[in-house]
């Protein structure tokens, strides 16, 4: 009997050597005269085990990891094709606690299916949602999105149904659907994973959005740092066209929808929605003042549904199972599930999908297993580069991973990333690095961000060096107020959050006494 072996073609798995493992496994199989099929699946998200190899057996999928090319021979010797025991054996994949304890809706197929097989996608619930949406009116589609309580996953958390409704209600000769796949926030990789591991889910979600607002053309703006993603998603688009899921008369609906893939130019700011639109319109990726919002006047001044990758993927899930089902997960203000991306100094980094409201401590210690170094956790940073540095003590406060609870604790949830630092890290250096990043990536359109990021860096360097500290602190508070109140977009507007949280929670790293910096990003009179 022909055996199927799964070896991830995911970027991170490949960076960990999965291509070399696949090559060696194939060679070894040929040497032994065995007929095997190798499927390059997505990653299961258990990255400390990558390259993770799986085999299909009558008792389910068995996994082995982390596999090196050198272990290929011994795997065959151990009879891994039938799930045989081996030092790298992890048992049945679905019994691994890290995976078993998750609530996978958006990532239910990632790692399980062949990402480029549309038959596999359909077998696991794919295109059920679109099929249902085809029989609904635009109004009803939008009502269902609204009823689900779904909010945008790019960081802004704006209600998706409301955004779509605005685009539908704005009179125009054309409307567009644009997917923001410019996943630049450090610590986040869920967009990449889903586009590599389950690309049709994004295509399906975008197609439902197109039906909702009457768009005939969609675009995916992907960051150029993801060349493997480009290959996989490009192939998925072609397959979708070949199977009547894109193009003319989608699934016999009499509706047309096209999707093109655009590669970014290596600029973080193009992940900001208006800069992304400028970039698509053949200009420098510089932020546009709002209003008007893109739903009113977006690409080429037409109403545009501009959502992040996970937002569209969640839509496909909502239509597959219904808004009621989706609402059963999460909290009142944050419905559904959140793909949490855990990285940094952590024993078991990876992707953990849980209903909104998961306990932060459980994620870091339960799933993550604490720091990789074995030293105490000093800080965590949730929500990407513009999130707050929170002290380890926050883990003892029962913080839930929801938009509301993170804000209540002085942070942001953002895209759902969590970076862990051990006690060897100097937070003043991390804060300076964040400012350097801000200065490096500022588009330069507005002064508070362009000059503020550089000035803040100079002032903080002065404080750390002990030069004119008192005046420096006064100046810095004034500068952070200006940046947070007057910047055109979130880059300059949010940079004060990591900087002020670092100074408030870790003053000793800056050579300051406790309480010497009291400027609060969330204060009303900031």
């Amino acid at each position: 009997m022909r055996k199927t072996i799964y070896i991830p073609g995911d970027s991170s798995a490949r960076a960990a050597g999965s291509d070399e493992v696949a090559l060696e496994i194939r060679k070894e199989a040929e040497k032994r005269g065995l007929n095997v099929d190798i499927v390059r699946n997505g990653s299961r998200g258990m990255y400390w085990l990558e390259p993770l190899l799986e085999v299909s057996t009558p008792e389910g999928r068995f996994s082995y990891g982390p596999v090196s090319p050198a272990s290929a021979g011994s795997l065959f010797d151990a009879g891994f094709l039938d799930g045989g025991g081996h030092p790298l054996s992890l048992g049945r994949t679905e019994d691994i606690p890290y995976l078993k304890d998750q609530e996978r809706l958006l990532f239910k197929r990632a790692g399980l299916t062949d990402p480029l097989s549309i038959e596999d996608y359909r077998r696991h619930g794919g295109y059920k949602g679109l099929q249902r949406a085809i029989n609904l009116t635009p109004r009803d589609i939008i009502e269902e999105v609204k009823a689900s309580g779904h909010r945008g996953r790019g960081g802004g958390a704006f209600p998706t149904g409301l955004k779509w409704e605005t685009a539908l209600k704005t009179p125009s000769d054309a409307r567009f659907v644009v997917c923001n796949a410019d996943e630049g926030d450090c610590g986040s990789f869920s967009d990449r994973m889903i586009m590599e591991g389950d690309p049709f889910a994004l295509i399906e979600g975008m197609t439902i959005a197109a039906l909702a607002v009457g768009a005939r053309k969609g675009y995916v703006y992907l960051r150029s740092e993801y060349p493997y993603t480009k290959d996989i998603f490009g192939k998925a688009l072609k397959t979708a066209y070949d199977n009547g899921c894109l193009g003319r008369n989608i699934l016999g609906s009499n509706k047309d929808f096209d999707i093109s893939l655009i590669m970014g130019g290596g600029s973080y700011i193009c992940g900001e929605e208006t800069a992304l639109l400028e970039s698509m319109e053949n200009r420098r990726g510089m932020v546009r003042p709002r209003p008007p919002v893109p739903a009113v006047s977006g690409l080429f001044s037409r109403p545009t549904v501009l959502n992040n990758v996970m937002t569209f993927v969640a839509v496909a899930s909502i239509f597959e199972n219904g808004a009621e089902f989706y609402r059963r997960y999460g909290t009142q203000g944050s419905t559904g599930t959140l793909p949490i991306q855990l990285s940094g100094n952590i024993k078991r980094p990876g992707l953990i999908e849980k209903a909104f409201g998961a306990d932060l401590k459980e994620i870091v210690y339960g799933f993550g297993g604490g720091t990789a170094s074995g030293r105490p956790v000093k800080a965590i940073k949730a929500g990407g580069p513009l999130g707050a540095y929170l002290p380890a003590s926050v883990l003892e406060k029962g913080v839930k991973l929801t938009y509301e609870d993170l804000i209540a604790n002085g942070g942001i949830l953002g895209h759902g990333s969590i970076i862990v630092f051990d006690d060897s890290i100097d937070i003043s250096q991390m804060a300076l690095g964040t400012l350097k990043f801000g200065a490096y990536e500022s588009c330069g359109k507005c002064t508070p961000c362009r000059i503020g990021s550089v000035r803040a860096m100079e002032i903080v360097e002065g404080i750390v060096a002990g030069n004119d500290v008192e005046n420096g602190l006064v100046l810095l508070k004034d500068l952070l107020s200006t940046m947070s109140n007057l910047s055109l977009c979130g880059l300059g507007g949010l940079l004060p959050l990591p900087i002020s949280s670092a100074l408030r929670h870790f003053p000793e790293d800056f050579g300051l006494k406790k309480g010497s910096f009291d400027w609060d990003y969330y204060a009303k009179d900031r």
């Binding site: 450090c186 655009i262 130019g265 990726g285 940094g344 980094p349 990789a372």
Partner: protein, 169 residues
Amino acid sequence: MLALLADSYSIHFMDNRDRQAIENIIGKTEDRAGALLSALHGITDKLGHIPVEAIPLIARGLNLSVADVYGAITFYKDFRLSPPPLNVLKICQAESCQSRDASGLTRYARARLGIGLGEAAPDNKAAIEPVYCLGNCACSPSITHNGKLLGRMDEKKLKELIDAIEEKP
């Protein structure tokens, strides 16, 4: 304007083949959205950089001004007006990698190659560039070598890589 640019960048004269390749790439863009990025990526993939002489060709082909095209090339970090160094090492400076000693890797690369972050060696053999996140955070620290993503880096692996770069003529 082109004369001004020619003073700032050593002009690499295109031969007819390059010109034809560029015309083909520009001619391929059907959709107005993303046309410039697509053309710039296409030319970079083919030639390694955007020759200054290509700017007016792109501008004419896409109905943009020379200033628009030049402005975009100099805005996006992916594009350059001179040939790239033989080996480009991008070292992630973002925080997951910092938590796993990306600074140590950066220091090591700088010391070995004798150049700063964001600089190229005078013989254009190697350059070290900062990058903020490669989406490989769960296998930090990460770098790329001529676009190939490498995870779980440490000084030993980086040493082997730089040794190999230095050995090649």
